[in-house]
């Protein structure tokens, strides 16, 4: 490997890393610009934000450009097999970049109000996104670990970004401790995999693991438990979700938004890849995830009922949604796993829309208490409408995309076999329960008379045009994505079918229900 020539490097399909390359260059540029501009004036901060946003958009453009010009009809090995370029990677990285772009756009005004040091924030966001993107493509244990750590460590700093705020520091510390334990467990699991199979490469591991199919060796169980626990921590799945409410509440709201979407999406991508390539033959794996899914949606929804802070509520809501999405992994057919991808795309817009609304509200009122939202419709009808639509989408009420996402996912899981019907039933009951707390916010905003906090909002415009535009984009996407779901569904289906072909063993995924 050390005597690689230039021609070998040319065969490594580095073209598929173009988005990562652009993001890295932009990231470094912003660092340099930050150092150059000592003054940190408003204009300079605006320029740094714009540079970061343009970088992310360019990276997204590069992703699309590569996809159009070098279409991935089959999965391509990248960088000596440590990464894989495939449709799953394209779709998920697009979600990550969109999530990063939205986060940058919705955070600027919030940062201006809460801290003097702004530009580092964007560097960290881009760094975490870069980690997530590599994680999505990783097909080697070392690459998985490095990418995961890149994403995690930047996230720890982000959670504690408001240095003078005790809650933020606490959130960061808690996240760090949990993250440390999670990493250790994950690493232990990975080392056992290496010990068992003698390789760090996914397909080689998959091939070696195929011979253990149906074997209930304690080592395999330990591996599965450890890997699953670490991933569940990253996905904020109950009972590994304890950090999420505290971190989401304490961290700056844009960071909570970022963690709930970008970090989670990347973790889902690697979970899907691990499931399909390495663990697909193991019966205990779906059982394990099934239990976690039920726990997660039930705990998430029922605890959310009692929340009084919108960030905590959204934290528990993400726990519940992770539970729904896990169902797709449990049944594990190409259709059901594909539905997770559609759900993730939907979730990107509806959840970031909800967070963007919460940010817009706290920018105006400096509070995250749900009761403060009373009567918002009288002062800011647009914001109230936007947040309502995002919350309805999270509930799964038509005509929003959330309805379609839930329908597709639950349908796919139910079609996978009669033993999954119970899971769908539990998910549906949970979905009904979730209506109670989502609609409560809508009730406060629309039905009630204005609260003191809302009355104090000035009648003048808010000077947060970028945030409002981004929120509008999220809401519009939430409204139309379901109606025009066909292309995304097609792409999701193709990605998972392609991933299934990447499996080294002769056995494919479980047969797709017709």
């Amino acid at each position: 490997m050390f005597d690689m020539s230039l021609s070998q490097l040319g065969q490594q399909n580095l073209i598929y890393l173009l988005p990562e390359g652009i993001l890295t260059l932009g990231l470094m540029l912003v660092i340099v610009l930050t150092v150059v501009s000592h003054q940190k004036t408003v204009q300079e901060n605006d320029a740094l934000m714009q540079t970061s946003l343009v970088t992310v958009l360019l990276s997204l453009g590069a992703l699309v450009w590569t996809h159009v010009n070098a279409p991935l009809t089959t999965a391509q090995s990248v960088a000596f097999g440590s990464l894989t370029a495939d449709l799953l990677g394209v779709l998920v990285r697009a979600v990550l970049l969109a999530g990063a772009g939205i986060t940058i756009a919705i955070s600027h005004r919030f940062l201006q109000q809460n801290t003097r040091i702004i530009s580092d924030f964007y560097v960290l966001i881009m760094g975490a996104t870069l980690g997530g993107m590599v994680l999505t493509m990783a097909s080697d244990l070392i690459a998985v670990f490095v990418a995961l750590e890149t994403m995690s460590i930047t996230s720890f700093i982000l959670a504690g970004y408001l240095r003078k705020n005790n809650r933020s520091a606490e959130a960061s510390f808690k996240y760090l401790i949990y993250g440390g334990v999670g990493t250790a467990v994950f690493l232990f699991g990975l080392s056992l995999i290496y010990g068992l199979t003698g390789s760090t490469n996914f397909s080689e591991i998959g091939m070696a693991m195929a011979q253990y199919q149906g074997v209930a060796h304690p080592t395999l169980v330990v591996i599965m438990l450890m890997v699953a626990a670490a991933l569940a921590y990253k996905l904020s799945i109950a009972p590994f979700h304890m950090w999420a409410p505290d971190v989401y509440e304490g961290a700056p709201t844009p960071v909570s938004a970022f963690l709930s979407v970008v970090s989670k999406t990347a973790a889902f991508a690697v979970t899907i890849r691990l499931l399909v390539i390495i663990f697909s033959g193991f019966a205990a794996w779906p059982l394990l995830w099934g239990i976690l899914a039920v726990l997660s949606m039930t705990i998430g929804n029922f605890v959310a009922l009692k929340q009084t802070n919108i960030k905590r509520l959204l934290a528990y809501s993400t726990v519940a949604h992770a539970g729904y999405m896990l169902l797709g992994l449990v049944s594990g057919t190409t259709v059901s796993v594909g539905s997770i991808l559609f759900y993730l795309v939907t979730y990107l817009f509806m959840n970031l829309g909800a967070f963007a609304s919460a940010i817009a509200f706290s920018n105006m009122t400096h509070t995250d208490e749900i009761n403060a939202y009373q009567g918002l419709v009288y002062k800011r009808p647009g914001l109230a409408l936007g947040l309502s639509l995002c919350l309805l989408s999270l509930t799964g009420i038509p005509i929003t995309a959330g309805f379609f996402a839930k329908f597709f996912l639950f349908q796919a899981v139910a079609m996978s076999g009669p033993m999954y019907l119970w899971l769908v039933g539990i998910a549906l009951v949970n979905s009904t329960v979730s209506l109670a707390y989502y609609i409560n916010i809508i009730r406060l905003m629309v039905v009630k008379e204005p609260s003191d906090a809302v009355k104090a909002i000035p009648d003048a415009a808010d000077n947060q045009a970028l945030l409002e535009t981004t929120l509008a984009v999220c809401v519009v996407m939430t409204l139309v994505l379901g109606i025009f779901a066909s292309p995304v569904l097609e792409f999701s289906k193709n990605s998972i079918e392609q991933l299934a072909q990447e499996r080294p063993t002769v056995v494919g995924l479980a047969p797709v229900s017709k």
Partner: protein
């Protein structure tokens, strides 16, 4: 004509209104006028489109999400058309009724009303099960806000109760939808949500047990909506708290969504299951009629009384459907229409009284006949229609139901748990249900007596009689009640083919099929038969 998507225009025109309304000036007069003209246009269009498409059933199908076999598919047969025109008509009436009962936040109010209309029209016109479910769920949020913002003191509780009940039913409907989708793939080689294909499901070799499960899945969702005892408790709450126009829409149309679903899916698609379950449906229908009539009798709150009477009358739909013959099914559908008009009218009466007195307690009313003669007149007319007086719309509906049920051979005994059986034939249950008519007469007449007759309380001395808009709404509702009472054929004739088709799979036709449509539609012979049966 063939190329114009008339059904899509009808479904989405209200949404267009809802999108225009936020940009109108915030002036109650402008908003009232816009909504009146808009809903009037919708009513005229729906009637016109029905008339223009006479002779063929319009159908629009476009591929939507081919990966999941979902199409955008809407269509209309006479059952759909009747309910669509009823919807647009009651919408028009409800909008005019809003003049006097809704004074705040009119923009949001009318937007929500029109979103609600789209969802209701979508439910009646959808020909794809996914689309149907989408429209079915879409109705929740507008209705929630309409009750929660413009309702009475306990409005928020009533609104959330309504939503949670409906959503609970949706769980079972969702399961049934997936079941039907899955079985279509297994037995017909094609996973599908299309109505016309799913209608063949029962003949494709699906086990009867599976059919019964699907029937029950759909039935539970629709029974909550209908509402059927014991799932009816959301309705008195919702009605009491809802403002008058919303009560009109709720009783007039939303309950019909449940009845429509039963006719279309439960009976249309799973006739074998319907045949097995018919005894229980009739039994439940009988309980619905008698029990809620009894509950209505003791209500101190005028609106609650009307609400329970509304539930009671929806029991006739179950009875008629359970008869499993063309006459009974036709009666059930007729009852949907006449109940829509009558209950909307009764709620309008309650609303006009409440606007004047700000109380709904019967004990605080009395003698209104003296100073509110116009309202009294309409109250009398509509209440008499409700209790089934001949020549008014309630009479042919109930008579058809009783006639169909009494001549039905659907069952002689009801199989019960453990091999036992209840010795109740459909005739016995019909006769017991007929007592409900007597009870209905009792509580309605007693109500009229307590509210409109007797001495007038001094504090009500200066009440003003109905305003122009109120007279318009009341006469608008009274007129069709009168017309369809005099010429029931105008509703019954279009339903002939639908009800005959629906009853075809059942082997329990009445031997005597009514002659098609004459002005004296319900023959005296039929009544004589019925009386004879009751005296046995």
């Amino acid at each position: 004509m063939e190329n114009i998507p008339i059904l899509s225009i009808l479904i989405f025109l209200p949404i267009v209104y809802a999108l225009i309304i936020p940009f109108l000036p915030d002036d109650n007069k402008v908003l009232n006028t816009f909504s009146t003209v808009g809903s009037g246009l919708l009513f005229v269009l729906s009637a016109l489109f029905w008339w223009l498409s006479a002779g063929h059933a319009p159908m629009e199908t476009r591929a939507w999400l081919p990966q999941l076999h979902i199409n955008y598919s809407v269509g209309a047969d006479s059952l759909s058309w009747l309910l669509v025109v009823l919807t647009t008509f009651l919408l028009f009436m409800a909008v005019i009724a809003s003049y006097t009962s809704i004074h705040k936040r009119l923009k949001l109010y009318y937007s929500m009303i029109f979103v609600l209309t789209t969802s209701i029209l979508g439910v009646f016109l959808a020909r794809d099960l996914f689309l149907f479910f989408l429209f079915w769920e879409l109705e929740l949020i507008p209705m929630y806000l309409l009750i929660a913002i413009w309702g009475g003191p306990r409005r928020e509780f009533a609104a959330i109760k309504f939503v949670l009940y409906t959503l609970f039913g949706s769980i079972f409907m969702f399961a049934a939808i997936l079941g039907a989708f899955f079985l279509a793939g297994t037995f017909m080689g094609q996973n599908t949500f299309a109505f016309d294909q799913l209608a063949n499901l029962s003949g494709s070799g699906v086990a009867v047990t599976a059919q019964i499960l699907l029937f029950l899945g759909f039935f539970l969702a629709f029974a909550i909506k209908l509402p059927m005892v014991p799932f009816h408790t959301w309705l008195p709450d919702a009605h009491v708290e809802a403002p008058t126009p919303i009560s009109m829409l709720l009783a007039g149309i939303l309950l019909k969504m449940g009845a429509y679903g039963m006719v279309r899916f439960c009976f249309g698609w799973f006739p074998q299951a319907a045949e097995i379950l018919a005894p229980y449906l009739v039994l439940l229908g009988m309980i619905n009629i008698i029990y809620t009539a009894g509950v209505a009798m003791v209500q101190a709150d005028l609106k609650k009384l009307i609400a329970y009477s509304s539930v009671s009358h929806m029991g006739f739909v179950l009875l008629g459907l359970g008869a499993l013959n063309a006459v009974g099914i036709k009666g059930a559908i007729f009852q949907m229409i006449s109940h829509g008009l009558i209950s909307a009218g009764l709620f309008m009466i309650v609303g006009t009284l409440y606007n004047r007195t700000h109380t709904r307690m019967i004990a605080e009313m009395g003698g209104f006949g003296k100073n509110l003669p116009t309202i009294y007149f309409f109250a009398l007319l509509i209440a008499l229609a409700s209790l089934g007086l001949p020549l008014l719309a309630g009479f042919p509906a109930e008579t058809l139901v009783f006639y169909g049920a009494f001549l039905s051979k659907a069952f002689d005994v009801i199989p019960w748990f453990g091999g036992a059986q209840l010795n109740l034939s459909i005739q016995t249950l019909t006769v017991i249900s007929a007592v409900g008519v007597v009870l209905g007469a009792a509580y309605l007449l007693w109500m009229l007596q307590r509210v409109f007759m007797g001495p007038l309380f001094p504090k009500w001395g200066d009440l003003k009689d109905a305003s122009v808009s109120e007279v318009f709404v009341l006469s608008g509702l009274a007129l069709p009640i009168l017309i369809f009472g005099l010429v029931p054929g105008w509703i019954a004739d279009p339903l002939e083919s639908v009800s005959v088709d629906l009853s075809k799979p059942f082997g329990v036709q009445t031997e005597a099929v009514l002659p098609p449509a004459k002005p004296n539609y319900v023959s005296t012979a039929a009544l004589a038969d019925q009386r004879e049966g009751e005296s046995h």
